[in-house]
Symmetry: C2
């Protein structure tokens, strides 16, 4: 099945680029809220399931034993931008379990936040694993190893007790058995398991409602969701989609990005889980797909809608700041998601009206 075009990138009044993808919305019973494209195709969730990967940290009692509060839990679920506060909290997570940044196995990375990266350049400080966008998750893994009484060394390996515990929870929440055939290595060296898109949505629906979960798991998920939605600046960073959308829709939505155009989310008041994947891996398009999904499913007050509209349709500006195009969901996408139907031929024709058409040709090209 070829996924439909869901996001257009325009320049002037023509479409310059387009992004295909799939969107799955389900409730905790697996009932389909919306299914755009091939929602049964397996995708690598990458960092979009960090909240699920952090469940063992809470469920095991490790977080409580080592005095992790809201901030530490948010960082365990974060793909942070390496800003000062992010790094300070990760350092504290390591200190609380008697470890140091040298024990992180995620690899060094410069902060994705430009000001933070430039601050390091100015002081001449080398980038370190602390600034890796996954360092909070990794600090949580080390903490879990300590609590389990095992050596944290090698905690990124799929056969280490930490990753085995994580895989058990991913399998249980998605209802998928995870074998070596669907396992690959994430950029931060831990395993990532390919899971059908609708099963990712199902996992978040189950966790946000607690339905079908043990009381222990439901409580752990609630603590993690609250930590993330309570201070969205910790989950991503200044100016980023996850942070801005969770701030704009305070407490009404959880969203989490992952590399290669994946996004997961949950809407507590509707009891829905969401998973989107852009076929080509573009973050700009995955964000627009998630924005369209939220616009369809979440009644918004005028103020929320204003804050949100810039994320639904993003301007592309020239280097002197003049708007020259935009990134936007295709016409009909928001309606199709709201109505729980596929994109119709009419939607696609409506959208194609704004596409580039071949121009008049002269007989000779020279």
């Amino acid at each position: 099945m070829t996924n439909p075009v869901l996001v257009e990138v325009t320049r002037g009044h023509l479409v310059e680029s387009s992004h295909r993808g799939a969107i799955a919305v389900v409730d905790a019973h697996g009932n389909c809220g919306a299914a755009i494209g091939d929602v049964e195709a397996a995708v690598f969730p990458r960092s979009s399931v960090k909240l699920i990967q952090a469940l063992p940290l809470v469920e095991s009692g490790a977080a409580e034993a080592f005095g992790y509060g809201e901030e530490e839990l948010a960082l365990a679920c974060a793909s942070h931008s390496g800003e000062r506060r992010h790094v300070a909290i990760v350092r504290r997570m390591l200190e609380k379990c008697g470890h140091s940044p040298a024990d992180l196995e995620c690899g060094a990375q410069a902060p994705s936040n430009l000001a933070a990266a430039n601050a390091l350049v100015r002081t001449g400080e080398a980038s370190s694993p602390l600034y890796n966008t996954c360092s909070g998750k990794h600090a949580g893994f080390i903490c879990l190893a300590c609590h389990l009484g095992v050596d944290p060394t090698g905690y990124v390996a799929s056969n280490h007790p930490v990753q085995r515990a994580v895989a058990v929870v991913v399998a249980a929440t998605t209802g998928i058995s995870l074998g070596a055939d669907v396992c690959a290595t994430d950029g931060c060296s831990i395993p990532t398991y390919a899971v059908p898109l609708d099963r990712l949505a199902l996992a978040f629906a189950g966790l946000i409602t607690g339905e079908g979960q043990s009381p222990q798991r439901a409580a752990a998920a609630r603590r993690l969701f609250d930590a993330c939605m309570g201070d969205p600046s910790l989950v991503a960073g200044t100016g980023r989609f996850c942070t801005e959308v969770m701030e704009a829709l305070s407490g009404r939505v959880f969203v989490k990005t992952g590399a290669e155009g994946i996004y997961c989310g949950a809407i507590p008041e509707a009891g829905l889980g969401i998973a989107v994947k852009c076929d080509d891996g573009a973050t700009r398009a995955a964000e627009a797909m998630m924005a369209a999904t939220l616009a369809a499913l979440l009644p918004m007050a005028a103020a929320e809608r204003d804050l949100f509209s810039q994320r639904l349709t993003r301007s592309i500006a020239s280097r002197v700041g003049v708007k020259v195009g935009e990134i936007r969901p295709v016409a009909g996408l928001v309606d199709a998601i709201r109505e729980g139907r596929s994109l119709t031929r009419e939607d696609i024709i409506r959208s194609a009206d704004s596409s580039i058409v071949p121009t008049a040709r002269s007989p000779s090209g020279g």
Copy 2:
């Protein structure tokens, strides 16, 4: 027409993301060398036609009048990385026609080369239009205005004599009449006109062979191609595709990138022009498409093939440097281009063998 998947991004042994696109290869008479996907669809060429946009600078006599040599001509065709040498040459281009960086209208941009960007951060120097990847082209525009005896101010506007001269050459070489209906604004504020992909390839075939061109235009094109292929480090920068591929295949190929996944090229020995566009705008995929095209059309010695193979299939590494996946043309693409045929069902099936398949599902998701 839906373009075929031409590039796969793998993780482990599964396909994580995929890129669709089109590839046009034609000779100077418009004979099709290869046509993959919809090659008649119009695309914005963006910076991939900088060499064409620089033709008026040479044809008018401006370059000669102001003493522009090989280096200045290469920079006029460049999307440079803002490295020290790039910026020094652009500064000289402006000085030679009595102007300064303050006259550039492309807007400020930090160097894309990380070391160059960090050097600015360390010294506290603000980024300026000099570091804009298009500053060489813009310096050439200012030089052309001087030679035409018109005020350079506003040289980025579509009705300024400089942009009118540029549009005339783009129209003549592509054989397309360029109206306001296909005009949009590039990131550096100049007009960009949507042109069918095969007509972009035709333009480069005509210019690389000189066939169908006036002696003046053929000579101007030859000077610009020679300047670019003679020192590819000036056309892009350290580690970049345009520079590395032109260096590896010294003098045997011209390639030039543009934003949103467009690439143009020419093979002098075969008399062919090339244009590729990745539907979703990804540079990583446009590079792989161009690499596949060159691999198909250019007989290579063992040493050239070795240098080139890393550009044909690029490794994706984790943050600790371990290979976790790759970016590669789909199976059959190189053969299809070489044989001048479309991708067959067999090619697509061969490719799909390595795609992600839905995993086993348990009855319940909780």
